[in-house]
């Protein structure tokens, strides 16, 4: 494929707001994970919570119609749009291409379901009805399209829009759809990314599957005992290289998408889908396995994921390509993991380092891939990022310096 430039990108997670805070936390090995203090959740686990979301409603003048979008997920989206000049860059793109020519393709797995959880606690005792304010706001908060609708409204964009919701792979797949839309001529540029925020559904849901670690997650560790949930919002402005490609810019070089066709919540035992996604990304970018300097693993720290991903990675890349999981810093931010780890990949490229694997002390001896525990300063030209999700939905993206 012709490379597409990430002309601006940003992320907000438990590590902090924007590129600099994220980079510093990675460099200083400062985790964003803490003992679970989300609402009244009574689960012994850690979370990657973004500070202050409880206190900053989505507002603005009534004429803009933004207040109706107020919910934790859209607050997180707004915080993301405000970092690293992302909103200004999107507005410049709007001027350059026209509002109808800029798409909004975002990923989310649970949208604003937290609003529905709250509404169910306030049902009318006599009729069981949900609160009236919830009913009118549902479209703008919980409906799966909400976050793309909000971002599109906030930025005044009028191009194609959608929310991709394929569980954890959602915002990685947003890159693939945006690339197709640009190639198909449906738009000239796209705001891609994803937003997922903490809610009771995912905390109690993952607990029911017995997939939550008691402490901060330890990807690839011999003693790993599950994942840690987090929340994040990330965005990238994707454009053709002709109009936006200064040398040294970060570019999307390839993507690969696949399904396991195996089980809703267990990965394919041989990693068939994961292998297909990585090979697809290599094929599309015209690169060989040896051209990849670093692999950002899905690396959730569940027993099954890390073992099977290791099989898949070594079958495509052999045992020597450096790889690590950054989920010990951010937690697993589900539908926003794809954009979060794409932005981390961009930081690796522009700041010449590869992160290690935080919280992990001894790599599982059954793993054959080259798992880094310590960060390394080194030039990085191409990064492959893996994201695998429920439903057996897989996506790999390759980012590189243009």
């Amino acid at each position: 494929m012709a490379p597409l430039i990430l002309s601006r990108y940003t992320v907000v997670s438990a590590l902090g707001k924007g590129l600099d805070e994220t980079y510093r936390a990675l460099r200083d090995r400062r985790s964003g994970l803490r003992p679970c203090d989300f609402e009244d959740v009574a689960i012994k686990t850690y979370i990657g919570r973004v500070e202050g979301l409880e206190d900053v409603p989505v507002g603005g003048p009534p004429s803009k119609g933004l207040a109706q979008f107020d919910c934790r997920n859209n607050r997180l989206a707004l915080l993301g749009l405000q970092q690293d000049g992302f909103a200004s860059a999107a507005l410049e793109a709007r001027e350059r291409y026209g509002a109808h020519r800029v798409a909004v393709i975002l990923g989310s797995s649970t949208s604003g379901i937290l609003e529905t959880e709250h509404a169910y606690r306030h049902r009318d005792p006599a009729t069981g009805a949900l609160p009236a304010s919830y009913l009118t706001g549902h479209r703008y908060t919980h409906n799966m399209f909400s976050v793309a609708h909000f971002v599109r409204t906030y930025l005044g964009l009028r191009g194609p829009a959608m929310v991709i919701s394929t569980a954890c792979s959602s915002s990685a797949k947003a890159f693939a759809t945006a690339a197709r839309f640009i190639e198909a001529g449906f738009c000239d540029a796209a705001v891609v990314g994803g937003v997922d925020s903490l809610c009771q559904t995912i905390l109690y849901g993952f607990a029911s599957l017995e997939l939550l670690a008691c402490g901060p997650c330890r990807p690839c560790d011999e003693e790993r005992d599950g994942l840690t949930l987090g929340e994040s919002a990330g965005f990238a402005l994707l454009e053709k290289s002709g109009r936006a490609g200064p040398p040294g810019a970060v570019a999307l070089l390839g993507y690969g998408e696949s399904s396991d066709g195996y089980h809703m919540s267990h990965p394919h035992p041989e990693g068939a889908g994961a292998i297909g996604a990585m090979q697809g990304a290599l094929r599309r970018s015209g690169l060989q396995p040896g051209d990849i300097d670093y692999i950002n693993l899905h690396g959730t720290a569940t027993r099954a994921n890390d073992g099977i991903e290791d099989k898949a990675v070594t079958s495509v890349f052999g045992p020597s390509t450096p790889c690590s999981s950054t989920k010990g810093w951010t937690g697993h931010t589900l539908g926003a993991a794809g954009i979060t780890e794409a932005v981390i990949a961009a930081l690796c490229l522009t700041r010449s380092f590869v992160p290690g694997t935080l919280n992990t002390t001894r790599v599982d001896s059954s793993l054959r891939s080259h798992v880094l525990l310590e960060s390394q300063e080194q030039p990085v030209r191409r990064v492959l990022s893996n994201i695998f999700g429920f439903g057996g939905n897989n996506c790999s993206v390759i980012l590189g310096l243009f």
Binding site: T201, G261, G391, N393
Partner: protein, 267 residues
């Protein structure tokens, strides 16, 4: 952007299967709005079917019908599943549980709650390892799905199964999203014309100047179209059902329009 339709599946009130629906949508047979039976969705293994949600059964049932008509192997097809509201029945159960003092969530319910549940069940039932995308665009989810599927067909030169479905949520969520009927539609879209091709579609995205949506003539079908996001597909399906060329305008978001030229491949 040109694609060919090789197979169709449909399920809705009074619209049970593509062949009978085709006659209704072509205007050859009158429309009577009657609730459809629970779809067999026989592609699902019995234990998966027993656990599946209504949404999943509706979606995979129309998918199966379209695949059979297109005489194609589902293993080879990328999929796009478009749905505005997802698994509202499951979410109702989860949120009810989470509002109780003992929040004992069922692991099966949790994995069924994802927006890509139907896409997942389909790929598992057919052992398909191709790309699978599940998306939402509120009332314009069918339009977004059509664009995503068409872009995939044309840029990847591969056949895509597009499925759109939305079912009315249970009480009390129904008050938040009072969808009309239940409706599901599937189209097998291919890059090349073959003996199986039913129609040729030429798609373009345009800025919408005014309200140009193609409507259904029958008031009951028009009510279904307006009341269910997946049923926004009805004017296109109606043009496919007829045997003469037509142009369909599909409103897309508040400001765009998908203009579709429909040309029959068989006389």
């Amino acid at each position: 952007m040109r694609v060919y339709v090789d197979g169709m599946g449909m399920l809705g009130p009074g619209l049970v299967g593509w062949e009978p629906s085709r006659l209704i949508l072509a205007g050859d047979v009158g429309y009577h709005e009657t609730p459809p039976p629970d779809p067999p969705a026989s592609v699902l293994p019995p234990n998966e079917r027993r656990r599946s949600s209504d949404c999943v059964r509706w979606a995979v049932h129309v998918a199966q019908e379209a695949i059979e008509q297109a005489e194609t192997d589902p293993k080879t097809l990328a999929t796009v599943f478009a749905c505005s509201d997802g698994e509202m029945g499951i979410l109702n159960q989860l949120c009810t549980t989470l509002a109780m003092s003992e929040r004992v969530v069922s692991p099966t319910l949790f994995h069924q709650s994802v927006h890509n549940a139907a896409a997942g069940y389909w790929s598992i039932a057919t052992r398909c390892q191709q790309s699978s995308t599940a998306l939402s665009c509120y009332d314009w989810s069918f339009g977004s799905g059509l664009l995503e599927a068409a872009a995939y067909v044309c840029t990847e030169e591969k056949t895509v199964l597009l499925v759109a479905y939305d079912l009315p949520p249970p009480i009390p969520l129904y008050a938040a999203r009072p969808l009309h009927g239940g409706y599901a539609v599937a189209l097998v879209l291919t890059p090349h014309r073959s003996r199986r091709s039913v129609v040729q579609l030429d798609l373009a995205l345009q800025v919408r100047a005014s309200d140009t949506d193609t409507r259904m003539l029958d008031p009951a079908l028009e009510a279904l179209r307006c009341g269910n996001p997946a049923a926004r597909a009805l004017p296109l399906c109606s043009a496919i059902a007829k045997t003469h060329p037509a142009q369909v305008h599909l409103d897309y978001l508040e400001d765009q329009s998908i203009v579709i030229g429909v040309e029959p491949c068989r006389s």
